[in-house]
Symmetry: C2
Subunit: 138 residues, 2 copies
Amino acid sequence: MKQFSKEKIDKFIEILDFSKIEGDLVPVITQDSQTNEILMLAFANEEAVRRSLETGYAHYYSRSRSELWKKGETSGHVQEIQQIITDCDSDSLLFKVKQTGAACHKGFYSCFYNEFVDGKIKIIGKKAFNPEEVYKKQ
Amino acid sequence: MKQFSKEKIDKFIEILDFSKIEGDLVPVITQDSQTNEILMLAFANEEAVRRSLETGYAHYYSRSRSELWKKGETSGHVQEIQQIITDCDSDSLLFKVKQTGAACHKGFYSCFYNEFVDGKIKIIGKKAFNPEEVYKKQ
């Protein structure tokens, strides 16, 4: 994705409705742009949307750490945004991305790997890396 | 999707974490099970998850109307659930569905039809029905 100028980003921010989620957030669905597989669901505040559009890489807001979060900052598993789409109410975002490595911090390609089948959880995801290796302290 | 017994639904509810969104909700991504196109993002409380699993049809919680909401109740555009998947933190759901009609109340097949391109919104969705016809008062 090309990076956008501040003026164009301002116009997009104006359209978005951050009022529906406590902390002025919008939910963001992240989808593999090639396979359409869903990779994760996270939240973005205004700053995270701005940084995503300025840099072309997915940024979110971490509610647990209360801070801006560039996806892949620690792991190297960055997400290059190919398309950015908002919904009919402008209160949710969809990032279509080219995923480096894998999206899930537990080592799966997608965070959505627990299917509810016959009253039990069945793991349907592919393990792509060992989190202990990738996130180990130096 | 087969319908689940109360005992099995209880086990699934136990796994889910409703604590992260005000009002004890989880975000639900709804995806076309055949094309993997994303249809909408909505929220579910415990009751909506239970009704979805009991009936096999997608139910959500409407935050604007503060009530349980069976998708397609007015329009007939129901969503038959094919797979139900939760993520690594058990705080988000993915419904893979067979969509009757179209998902968006504005007449588009998917709610995600506004792409941000070159500083402007470009409508990329397909119009599937006329909302004035479908939602008209009898």
